[in-house]
Symmetry: C2
Subunit: 323 residues, 2 copies
DNA sequence: CACTTTTCTGTTATCGGTAACACGAAATAT
DNA sequence: ATATTTCGTGTTACCGATAACAGAAAAGTG
């Protein structure tokens, strides 16, 4: 491995100059800068991350805290992880995963936290390094999330544009900001369209949404769309509507939310609001790193739009050809 | 942060002695050892990983290479990752994820590789640090995997013990060791039971196994069990058997393989061979670390047994009560 | 008892970087 | 023209650990 020193000799300068070229190039004359760059290229110099970390009193490690029980972890976590890890990689940062079971967490330069519940916030305060959350929150932590409200609004608009008469919202029964935002999206869109609202909250498992359909089947009339706050719930709806003999998508439309993996498991493929989870992961990583470099100061939040991904659980628009 | 030096002062020894207590305790008298330990505890000393890494010319980083296209990545990767990451954490190692898109991979102390295809081996040889594969292989790389052959053998045995008359194997159509081992398991069990084999290979997607059932429905007679090489294939089988009006589990049994996530998506829950993916991940991590400490020398392989996890897609045994 | 060997602990140099200071040369001010 | 500042670079010390060597004390030997 070539070191700063090797480059310095090659370029006939001190290693401090080389270091400066890398970290504070404006402090070095253009002439020397060019020399050093040439030497670095020629020797294929790669900085030693550990040495840098030691000198800067950094760890070059970001901890990813997953506070949910792993049993309930949605498949999109994998994509999230890949997004985060790839981004960190680019900046020579390593990732350490911390799940609920690891009680003690070692040293790091910053944290990314997912699966937060209200109960966790107090504990979160005890962490001393910059923190970014994956998922909206009302506690002032910087976060990255989908624009949940807008997302559901669009789903409602879309369902209505397909001439579904009744629009039912099947939400998840947790008192968390993302769930509330999705409900808000439903309510505000319904108000815009001047329609009667019909909203339910269920635990986020397909068997509960299936049971929900079974128990209320008689109250559902054809030409209804179910807007679901998760693909998981949507899956149960589809299953039981079919079971009851309802026809999808003619009499009953179903739109899910998340668009990672589960929507492709459904048959037919689920129409869903797809989150760009990998991009969101990358953005989250960037946000922590940014926050670290800014000594932990506020860096704002980032909201991503979801993408309406059409499957076979909603009607085609007039004149539309199925792809 | 307390350093070696702080501890040394507290214990009235040189920092070298403290370092020895940590790394080569047998070289230090019991007396001093106790002193040092007391000082470490009192000051709550945590070694600085970066400094250690620098001194040892290590990076404290393991790269996880995922060579599959992320679209096809099974949900169990998440569990695997958690298993690996938790284990690395314990040993102060960080994880870096490398997917196919990152062409150039930075420095690390070792590699864990998953999703290997035959075509990748040549490239793999160019890596210079210890490598452990997740997944059996015939190229001499140390690996961790499930005992695929034994696993399917047990599935066949179990299906027969439930008095299913015909046993059909639905394998995945790739020429990889894991797939071949699973086929072997089927063939050897069938031979033991002296039964006619009936084996198929399909691309690993539920729509293909569903199509398979649809196209061959007339050739299937009641009292048949489908042993599938993946839960994904099993899902398609269930879906189409139901569609065709076959009754599960009375006339048709279905057993999947993997037991992560997908089996719980199925309705009814799938009977499947569950891999302890998180434990396997931990074992994989241990194996690389071990290999690193042994300067890359051969460390053997580790095979895990799968666990038969009963769902509603197989009959109950006589006298068995459904839990 | 003197002489070698072993055992234990401390000293020094090093890993590959960076910050803080030092210092000569060039630029600006008086 | 001299005093003062700015600029650009090199020197030194240090981040927190470890290996290699050094040297004193203890143990073993004849």
């Amino acid at each position: 491995m070539t070191t700063l020193n090797d480059v310095a000799k090659k370029a006939n300068v001190s290693k401090m100059t080389v270091s400066r070229v890398i970290n504070h190039p404006e402090q070095v004359t253009e002439e020397l800068r060019a020399l050093v760059h040439a030497a670095m290229k020629e020797l294929n110099y790669k900085p030693n991350v550990m040495a840098k970390a030691l000198a800067n009193n950094r760890t070059q490690i970001i901890k990813l805290l997953i506070l949910e029980e792993m049993d309930y972890v949605e498949p999109y976590y994998m994509q999230l992880l890949v997004g985060i890890a790839n981004e960190l990689d680019k900046h020579a940062y390593g990732l350490q995963l911390v799940t609920k079971r690891n009680t003690q967490i070692g040293d790091s330069d910053g944290y990314i936290v997912c699966g937060m519940r209200e109960a966790d916030y107090e504990w979160l305060n005890t962490l001393e390094k910059p923190i970014v959350l994956f998922g909206e929150n009302t506690h002032g932590y910087n976060f990255v999330d989908s624009d949940n409200q807008k997302s559901i609004e669009r789903a409602v608009d879309y369902a209505i544009s397909l001439d579904y008469e009744r629009i039912i919202f099947v939400g998840v029964d947790v008192n968390e900001p993302f769930a509330i935002s999705r409900e808000k999206g439903y309510l505000s869109a319904m108000e815009r369209h001047n329609k009667y609202v019909s909203m339910f909250r269920l635990e986020n498992r397909s068997k509960y949404s299936a049971a929900f359909v079974r128990e209320n089947w008689e109250t559902f009339v054809p030409n209804t769309a179910f807007i679901c706050a998760s693909d998981r719930l949507a899956l149960g709806i589809i299953r039981e509507v079919k079971e009851q003999g309802g026809s999808i998508p003619e009499d009953f439309g179903v739109i899910g939310h998340d668009g990672v993996f589960l929507d492709r498991i459904a048959y037919p493929y689920l129409t869903t609001l797809k989150q760009s989870v990998d991009k969101m992961g990358a953005a989250t990583a960037q946000l922590v790193l940014q926050k670290i470099n800014a000594s932990g100061s506020d860096q704002g939040n980032i909201l991503f739009d979801t993408e309406l991904k059409l499957g076979g659980t909603t009607r085609l628009k007039k004149n539309q050809i199925h792809t």
